[in-house]
């Protein structure tokens, strides 16, 4: 079973991102489950969402405590201990940030948080791509494309498929463009600095 936790702030499309992943998993014949852990529903408030993907049906409805993957939509949340809490020591964190991986590591250390060397940290500036393509700083589609490209847990066309069911017209075009940009951006980064993702 693959377990993913998404951390972000209200308004960044955290729940949508979780739902899109589970829907993409379902398109691929997997049992996908996604749900949010709401605080009070306010824009900007930290929140998390959970995704489980498995070959066969499962019945649990508890939160994801030991994720293999983290998607962090706002880099300021990395300083909160709960963001990386329970992460698999060989897991991967994909962060939406303008900063470099080493800057983020420095920020983690400043907050007294040390991740095991075996945790892979990857960065993509998803907000700027979203602003350029969509005109709004909603980073989730770029992040999901980068995440799937990085982890290979699901093929990219399944994400495009669920986006095509959700959006139409120019919004769909923008989302599909964000998928392309997310994939090419993360692949270019990986070529420059190979990491244990």
């Amino acid at each position: 079973m693959v377990e993913i936790r998404i951390h972000g702030r209200g308004g960044q499309g955290n729940v949508s991102a979780a739902y899109l992943l589970a829907l993409a998993a379902f398109e691929n014949g997997f049992h996908g489950q996604a749900f949010p852990s709401f605080g009070a529903e306010r824009r900007g408030a930290p929140m998390s969402a959970f995704v489980r993907i498995h070959e066969t049906p499962f019945a649990r409805h508890c939160q994801v405590r030991s994720p293999r993957f983290l998607i962090v939509q706002d880099d300021s949340l990395l300083s909160l201990p709960e963001t990386s809490d329970g992460l698999d020591p060989t897991g991967t964190i994909l962060v939406n940030s303008r900063k470099s991986v080493s800057d983020l590591n420095a920020r983690l250390q400043a907050a007294g948080l040390v991740l095991p060397d075996t945790v892979g940290v990857q960065v993509i500036n998803a907000s700027d791509i979203a602003v350029a393509v969509l005109g709004k700083p909603i980073p989730n589609t770029v992040l999901l494309a980068a995440f799937l490209s990085l982890t290979k847990i699901l093929p990219i066309p399944s994400l495009e498929q669920v986006l095509s069911k959700r959006f139409t017209g120019t919004t769909l075009e923008a989302n599909l463009e964000m998928v392309r940009r997310g994939v090419s951006d993360i692949n270019a980064k990986r070529e420059r600095s190979p990491s244990h993702a």
Partner: protein, 402 residues
């Protein structure tokens, strides 16, 4: 057809397939996407029903009661404080024996203010005279919603379909939604034999003198006795059409010869079922899912606990000064049945506290502890209990002198 869909949307779709004629709801917190989605189906012309957006849950309950009384299939949904505000009308609907269906997206009741899941809201109205069915998954929520209309209309008792708020209502997962044809085969059009009709006037809700009040209450109670068979039969009939059952009044999984029983209500059943699958001590454990809380399945429960040495009853609600609500009822139903059965009532998961897979190990540890109390808060974190530091200068009442 199997679809990956959010719980609330799946419930809305199943309500729509039951062809309700009147839906009333108060659209502000606490509310779910269920009524929002139904409003959209009506606005888009996909559901032919009257949607009445009211100013409070009291009115929502009143509208669906009136609609059902005048011959329309009706539906509403609410949770927590919304259920509290409905309370007076809930008693009226049940006492007048008007069949309607309501989804309770189970949430805590304030104070302290909480928006998260537990069962305090529906438990607070357990004596209102409604049938209460609890769902363990979104599939059961869909299937139970459709069954609920049939049960309500056949018994003339209103039905609450209790679905864990957030844990189920906001979870997207694969759900098999039946076809409209299957639902139409299962559920005939609504007919209420005492329907209000100006050409055949009758009075509802008249004053009942002490000469007849007890008899009216007796009839209401006896209707629940009859509902037991109907709930089981309805579930079996649904199974014959879809291949799926929701477990009748109560069902269990795990070893039938186990010595430890864990009785639960709602979605934690799925979590513990998964935890049980690969557990080294799975042969010792039987999980019991209480689906019908009203009517309470006394006889079925007595049969189910046969051979058990320990029964843990998980409660997601509390009667302060007493203990867990389901726990008390189970203990009472089993009184004098099995003298050597040890019953532990554990309150867990209040106000949205997550119930993880490791809960199973915690409960097994409780069984191994001979000194474990009969009642406890099993997921209490003692360090988080607020401790007030006594003030050095005692604060008295405000003085009128400066």
């Amino acid at each position: 057809m199997l679809e990956a869909i959010e719980g609330s949307q799946a419930i809305a779709r199943s309500v729509a397939m039951c062809r309700p004629q009147v839906i009333a709801a108060y659209p502000i917190t606490p509310q779910t996407h269920i009524v929002e989605s139904l409003a959209q189906l009506i606005a888009n012309g996909l559901l032919d029903a009257q949607y009445i957006s009211v100013e409070s849950e009291f009115s929502a309950a009143s509208v669906v009661m009136g609609a059902a009384a005048s011959g329309s299939r009706s539906y509403t949904a609410s949770a927590s404080q919304g259920i509290m505000l409905m309370t007076e009308v809930l008693y009226n609907t049940a006492g007048l024996r008007i069949p309607t269906v309501m989804t309770v997206a189970n949430r805590a009741v304030s104070a302290p203010l909480s928006i998260w899941n537990d069962h305090q809201d529906s438990m607070s109205v357990r004596d209102a005279g409604w049938i209460q069915l609890y769902c363990a998954s979104n599939q059961e929520a869909v299937d139970t919603t459709i069954q609920a209309f049939l049960i309500a209309e056949a018994t003339e008792l209103p039905v609450m379909v209790c679905v864990d708020g957030y844990t189920l209502t906001h979870t997207l997962e694969p759900v098999d939604l039946p076809s409209q044809k299957v639902v139409d085969t299962f559920l005939p059009p609504y007919r209420f034999r005492r329907s209000l009709n100006p050409r055949q006037p009758l009075t509802m809700g008249t004053l009942v003198s002490p000469d007849f009040f007890t008899e009216a209450r007796y009839t209401h109670h006896i209707a629940f006795e009859k509902a037991r068979t109907l709930i089981t039969d309805t579930d079996l009939r649904w199974a014959s059409l879809t291949g799926r059952t929701c477990g009748g009044l109560l069902e269990s999984t795990g070893n039938p010869d186990a010595s430890i029983g864990i009785l639960v209500m709602g979605s934690v059943f799925g979590t513990l079922s998964d935890a049980l699958k690969d557990h080294p001590e799975r042969d010792r454990i039987r999980l019991i899912k209480l689906r019908s809380f009203r009517p309470f399945p006394r006889e079925e429960l007595r049969r189910e606990v046969n051979n058990l040495k320990i029964l843990i009853v998980l409660d997601r609600s509390l009667s302060p000064g007493y203990g867990g609500i389901a726990g008390g009822e189970v203990r009472s139903a089993l009184y004098r049945e099995q003298q050597d059965l040890r019953i532990i009532n554990a309150v867990v998961g209040l106000g949205g506290r997550d119930l993880p897979m490791t809960l199973l190990d915690d409960l097994l540890a409780l069984c191994a502890n001979q000194d474990a109390p009969d009642f406890l808060f099993a997921d209490l974190v003692p360090q988080r209990i607020a401790v007030e530091t006594p003030s050095e200068t005692p604060v008295g009442p405000p003085s009128s002198e400066a």
